[in-house]
Symmetry: C4
Subunit: 205 residues, 4 copies
Amino acid sequence: MSPARLEAFSDGVFAIAITLLVLDIHVPEARSGVSLAHQLGAQWPSYAAYLTSFLTIGIIWINHHAMIRRLRAIDHTIMTLNLLLLLTIGVLPFTTALVAAYVKQGHGQHLAAAIYSGSYLLMSIVFAATNRHILFAKVRLHRVELAERERRSIIARGVAGLAPYLLATGLAAVSAYAALAICGAVAVFYALPVASADSAAASGG
Amino acid sequence: MSPARLEAFSDGVFAIAITLLVLDIHVPEARSGVSLAHQLGAQWPSYAAYLTSFLTIGIIWINHHAMIRRLRAIDHTIMTLNLLLLLTIGVLPFTTALVAAYVKQGHGQHLAAAIYSGSYLLMSIVFAATNRHILFAKVRLHRVELAERERRSIIARGVAGLAPYLLATGLAAVSAYAALAICGAVAVFYALPVASADSAAASGG
Amino acid sequence: MSPARLEAFSDGVFAIAITLLVLDIHVPEARSGVSLAHQLGAQWPSYAAYLTSFLTIGIIWINHHAMIRRLRAIDHTIMTLNLLLLLTIGVLPFTTALVAAYVKQGHGQHLAAAIYSGSYLLMSIVFAATNRHILFAKVRLHRVELAERERRSIIARGVAGLAPYLLATGLAAVSAYAALAICGAVAVFYALPVASADSAAASGG
Amino acid sequence: MSPARLEAFSDGVFAIAITLLVLDIHVPEARSGVSLAHQLGAQWPSYAAYLTSFLTIGIIWINHHAMIRRLRAIDHTIMTLNLLLLLTIGVLPFTTALVAAYVKQGHGQHLAAAIYSGSYLLMSIVFAATNRHILFAKVRLHRVELAERERRSIIARGVAGLAPYLLATGLAAVSAYAALAICGAVAVFYALPVASADSAAASGG
């Protein structure tokens, strides 16, 4: 299989997942005695979770391109790892909706935040594993030879990128808001031009 | 990253957002004593908002193509700006559903119309900012050299295109219907062949 | 704009609309005293409308390709007409859900069937108009020169293809089932290899 | 029609169907007295059905590519068969939601599991029929000549791939869980690198 078709299919899943996120921002029901402004304000977790997931999927899409661009051919293991990666992207609309619904609730907020942060953590682990497999086990499929030092550096930075999600997932047990804030901060950080040059480097871009 | 892949991903988001709009046109529940014709007629705001958003996304897609076509390569700032632009497209199914649900309500109609017009305004601002960045800061990435006068003229027309949305967002405080009418008129105006030649020029097409 | 990008965007809308149709087939609520088989059987109109719309969108996609394939470039009028065509495709998930919900109802069934057949009629009219515009007004953009006789024959067959939808829309006032049956028969007819060679010819394939 | 455009449209449908699956995993309603963990745990059939369908669509996408890659041109019969195949993919979000909702119910679970397994069976049959048509009836459209023995072997393995779905569909009458387990096992088996080399071979990859 050519990398082009793998990219086209993956791009489709990224684009659909990122666009489906909006279905979890609900139009408040018209109720007497409650202003629309109040109702819209009350669902701020939906906006925060939406923004975070939108940026995160956008960044992982950019990094995915950098990862696949290195290959001149795709084998079955890469396809399977890529499918697992898409699976972790595909569930984000659910985990995003879950945290948006529960972060303000008296009960369930810690679990929801842990699942949300944990889904990002899982996504990053599968991404790093796929990148590692491509960089070390599939050297023969590379377009351009990369020095081992460079490859090690890419992986090291990718693993470093897991840290905040690990922290957020752990912190969720203490504060759902803190977990959400970390995930949001990571998204904004990597979207910024300076940081993302780093991120692109981290994923070998 | 090649402009082709940026376009492919963006096209995906445009195509999905434009098609998801239909999910906000609801099939009326069968009720005794109320004719289907009456129920369908009563939800005319859904049709108006749908048409306006469909045409607007279609036009911005055309202009997006004209904008990206100028580039022979993409850097990270362009990708980030493009991601922000897609974010303003991605929320349109929500703002469209919001105005459709509230424009006829006693309360909330002004706010809903302001959010709706405001989402178009935001989209146009991000579009103009992206275009400005590409035309002035990224001259080295252009496929073909453009005279500065021409580039200034493109931006000037792009900024002029913000005016009606600014007016609509302001007017929403007075009349939700007027705001909706302006947004609809803009969509129809730019979809017309003559006007859109202008629009294409405005965005440098 | 290159025909390739117009096709890519249009393909996206076709693919999304055809896949969104499934959202209108609902999982019956588990109720005591009513078997799932009975409930699933009772929603046969959903399956019939789904099948019809799926095949119809698939066929129009094939014909769309034949239409655009003739062009070596796209101008703004073609883009606008194409956007209108996509609009008539984009509403199909709604009209499909509408007829599925109302065809068995005591009231509203005639209107729902008329809207359903009418949406196909509108789609076919916009398709024929776009094809006519391309074949006669945009000869200078053709890849290969077509004899006028051939072009007239393509249009004639395209217009003939409107007839069953016109009949179905009219018949809906008398029998919703008959309208649905005609739309379904058209879809099956054009999907069959023999008929569709004709259809492909009709749309200039 | 070029195989490239058929692939692009099919890829779109695969990508959308695989991503829409997530809409059937519902965020539990916040209720007092029931923990979120309990509610999330109770909907394990949704996760199992999601995973199975996600992997299955991913695998059929890979095999689809192997099938179409053999062709240098597409005719109308292939397009119709491909459209039927996409139809069997398009209904999977419904059958997946159905089995997830009913597998734990006292009544309807057998039927739901039979429909679920049956939809995979149907998909596999249409896939095998399309492959058979391409391999034997459309030799003139092949990119590279394949020995008849090789073609027979591809079909034989494809037919063998139907067996577990046939078994699952039959077993559903006895145990819904067993049917679901078989479908899940098939998905995991073909996703594994070793097995899927076989699968790729089975579909001629």
